[in-house]
C-alpha cells in the first residue's frame, strides 16, 4: 500500500496547506513525494514525539500535516503527544502508520501494530481508517484531505485476489454475498481469506469494515446475522478495543443476538517464536484455512 499511498498523496503535492512529515522512514517508497513537495516534505528525524507535536503546531497554524512512520513508532512512542497535542485540540493531523498487525513479520514485536486502532480510538475526536485494498487507500486519502478531525491511517499490504472487484469504497461493504454464515473483516487479511471462503462452497456472507468507530451497522448486515444466526469477526488486532468488541456492543444495542459469535484476533506471540506475517496469522487462527474451518462449524456447536 505504500506505493498507492505515495501515488495518491502526489495528487495533492501542489496543495500549499499539505505538509508531509516522516520519522526518517519511507525509503524506496516516498522519494517521489519528497521530490514533488520540496520544503513541505519534512524528514523530522528519528524523533516521533517531536514530530507529532510539530504536526499539531502546524495544524494550529492553519496547515494540513500528515505524520508517517512504522505504525508503533508513531502511535505508541508518541502517544501522549497524540493525546494532548492533537486529539484534545481536535486538530486535523493525519497519522499514517505502516505495517498494521503483523505486517513487519519477522522484524519482531517492536515493529508490530497489534493494538493501534484500539488504543487510538480511546482518544477524543479520533477516527481510524483501515484499508483492505490499494484502491481503498486512494479513496481514504482523498477523503482525509478534507476532514477536520484527527485520523489514523493503518497501512498494510493489499492481498486483493485478481477476481475480486469490490464494490465502490464505503465504510461498510458486502464483498461476497451469500446465504451461509455471516463473516466480517477489518484489514487486508480479508483478501486471502475471501479467496479460500469462495472456494470452500460455504456460501458465506462476507462483509468488510474500513472505518472505526462505527455507529449502527447497516440493516442488511443485521438482517444477515438474524438469518444465519452466526457471526465471525476477524481482525489482525488484539481483542481489546477492536472490531469484535465494537460489534458486540453495536449488536447488543441493536437487539441482535447471533446464536454463535466468534472473534478471531491477534493473540501476540503464541509459541514465543517469530516468523513472517503468515506465520503469526497461522498461530492466531487468522489464516485462510482456520477461518474456513471456523465458518464450517455448525451454529450451536
Amino acid at each position: 500500500m505504500r506505493h498507492a499511498f505515495c501515488r495518491t498523496l502526489l495528487e495533492f503535492s501542489s496543495n500549499r496547506e499539505f505538509i508531509f512529515l516522516t520519522g526518517d522512514l519511507g525509503y524506496m517508497a516516498l522519494e517521489p513525494l519528497r521530490e514533488a513537495m520540496d520544503r513541505r516534505f519534512i524528514n523530522a528525524g528519528v524523533a516521533e514525539q517531536n514530530m507529532v507535536g510539530v504536526a499539531a503546531g502546524l495544524a494550529k497554524g492553519g496547515l494540513r500535516p500528515w505524520a508517517y512512520s512504522i505504525a508503533p513508532f508513531l502511535y505508541a512512542r508518541a502517544f501522549e503527544h497524540i493525546r494532548n497535542d492533537v486529539c484534545l485540540h481536535h486538530l486535523p493531523v493525519v497519522l499514517a502508520g505502516n505495517g498494521g498487525g503483523y505486517g513487519y513479520g519477522v522484524m519482531g514485536g517492536s515493529h508490530h501494530a497489534l493494538e493501534d486502532y484500539g488504543v487510538l480510538l480511546s482518544l477524543p475526536n479520533m477516527r481510524a481508517y483501515v484499508p483492505a485494498f490499494d484502491s481503498d487507500v486512494q479513496h481514504m486519502i482523498r477523503h482525509l484531505m478534507t476532514v477536520d478531525h484527527p485520523a489514523y491511517l493503518r497501512l498494510g499490504l493489499s492481498e486483493q485476489p485478481a477476481w475480486l472487484q469490490p464494490e465502490p469504497y464505503a465504510p461498510w461493504r458486502r464483498i461476497l454475498p451469500g446465504n451461509g454464515p455471516t463473516a466480517v473483516f477489518a484489514g487486508p487479511l480479508v483478501g486471502r481469506s475471501i479467496d479460500a471462503i469462495r472456494q470452500s462452497g460455504l456460501n458465506a456472507d462476507v462483509w468488510l469494515v474500513s472505518e472505526l468507530p462505527f455507529g449502527q451497522p447497516p440493516p442488511e448486515f443485521l438482517s444477515s446475522i438474524r438469518r444465519s444466526g452466526y457471526l465471525l469477526a476477524v481482525e489482525e488486532h488484539v481483542a481489546a478495543g477492536g472490531l469484535g468488541q465494537m460489534l458486540a456492543h453495536a449488536l447488543l444495542k441493536a437487539g441482535v443476538c447471533p446464536g454463535r459469535f466468534v472473534h478471531r484476533s491477534a493473540l501476540g506471540y503464541v509459541s514465543g517464536l517469530y516468523g513472517s506475517q503468515k506465520f503469526h496469522r497461522e498461530e492466531c487462527g487468522l489464516d485462510p484455512a482456520s477461518i474456513v474451518a471456523e465458518l464450517g462449524r455448525p451454529v450451536f456447536q
Binding site: 520544503r39 507529532v52 499539531a56 497554524g61 492553519g62 485540540h89
Partner: protein, 294 residues
C-alpha cells in the same frame, strides 16, 4: 539593567559563530511597577482564595509573562506556555491585559471554571494549547513557527519553559528540529529557578549549564535576570539570525521572602497569615522600589 552571563563555558560570552554578544540595551522600560504589583497581589489572592499550590513557580514566571504581554508580543505573534503549572501567572497576566475578567479569576480551580489548574483546551483564544505534561510546548511552538515560515507569514513565537522540564527527552528532539529548520522566529525562554518537583535541579538530574548547551546546539543563547523587566524586554525584543534561547535566572516564590527558593512552594497552598504577610511584603518592597533611584 542586569543582563548577566555568568555561566562559565568554553565559549564564555562568545556566541556560536565566534563573535562577542553585543551589549544588550533595554529597548523598553519594561512593565510599570504598579501594574506588576497589582498582578502579583492578584496572583496571591487567586491562589489563596482557591487554596491552590504551585505559587512558587508562578511567582518565578510572572515577571517574564508580564514583560511579554505588556510590550513584547504583537498581534501576529504567538505564545506557548510549556510549563503549564504556571497557568496561574498566565491567567493573571491575561487578566492584566483585559483578556480575562475578575469573575474568571474568582472561579480559578473551582467547579465550573474556565481556568483549570493547567491551561485549558478551549475557551480562551490567547491560550493555544492545553499544556501541563512537560516536554510538549517546544515542539508545539516549533510547529507554529514553521507554519509561519512555510506560509511566509510574519510573527514570532515565544515558548516559556521550566528548567526541570529539560529532563524530558522530547525537548532535546525539539531543539535539534528547531535548529535544523533554522526557526529564527522562535524564542524559547527558560524560567531557571533551580528547583523542581522534589528538590534542586542540580541534585535531581543536573543539566547545568543550560546556556552553553543551547549554544552547542547552534542557538543564540543569552542569560538574563528573570525579575528585571527592563532587561527581559531588551532580550525578548531582540531578533537573531538563529533560533534564540533566553535563560532567565529566577527565584521560585520571588518577592515573598518565606517562599523564595523553597521547593515546598511548588505544592503548598497559602494559609491566611501567610497570605497577609506575603501581600504586605510585596507592597512594601514595591513602595521602596518606587521611592528609590531609578
Amino acid at each position: 539593567m542586569t543582563v548577566v552571563a555568568t555561566e562559565t563555558s568554553t565559549t564564555g560570552l562568545l556566541g556560536p559563530i565566534g563573535h562577542r554578544m553585543p551589549p544588550i540595551m533595554a529597548l523598553s522600560a519594561g512593565v510599570a511597577p504598579d501594574l506588576l504589583l497589582r498582578a502579583k497581589r492578584r496572583l496571591l489572592q487567586m491562589h489563596y482564595e482557591s487554596g491552590v499550590g504551585h505559587i512558587g513557580g508562578n511567582l518565578s514566571s510572572l515577571d517574564i509573562l508580564m514583560t511579554l504581554y505588556h510590550g513584547v508580543l504583537r498581534p501576529e505573534d504567538a505564545f506557548v506556555l510549556s510549563k503549564g503549572h504556571s497557568a496561574g501567572a498566565l491567567y493573571v497576566t491575561l487578566w492584566s491585559t483585559g483578556a480575562l475578567c475578575e469573575e474568571d479569576l474568582k472561579l480559578f480551580h473551582k467547579d465550573g471554571t474556565r481556568l483549570s489548574g493547567h491551561p485549558p483546551v478551549q475557551g480562551i483564544p490567547e491560550i493555544l494549547f492545553a499544556t501541563g505534561s512537560l516536554g510538549h510546548g517546544l515542539s508545539l511552538a516549533s510547529g507554529l513557527a514553521l507554519a509561519r515560515k512555510l506560509k511566509r507569514e510574519p510573527g514570532r513565537v515565544f515558548c516559556l519553559m521550566s528548567d526541570g522540564e529539560w529532563n524530558e527527552g522530547s525537548n532535546w528532539e525539539a531543539l535539534i528540529f528547531l535548529k535544523h529548520h533554522q526557526l529564527d522566529n522562535l524564542t524559547l525562554i527558560v524560567d531557571l529557578n533551580g528547583l523542581q518537583g522534589m528538590g534542586r535541579t542540580c541534585d535531581v538530574a543536573d543539566i547545568a549549564p543550560l546556556t552553553s548547551k543551547f549554544r552547542s546546539f547552534g542557538l543564540s543563547a543569552v542569560e538574563v535576570d528573570g525579575h528585571d523587566c527592563a532587561a527581559l524586554a531588551g532580550v525578548l525584543e531582540r531578533r537573531e539570525t538563529e533560533p534564540m534561547a533566553i535563560v532567565a535566572r529566577t527565584i521560585k516564590g520571588h518577592g515573598v521572602s518565606f517562599m523564595e527558593d523553597r521547593f515546598d512552594w511548588h505544592y503548598l497552598p497559602l494559609q491566611k497569615e501567610q497570605y497577609r504577610e506575603a501581600l504586605l511584603e510585596l507592597t512594601t518592597k514595591c513602595a521602596m522600589h518606587s521611592a528609590g533611584p531609578s
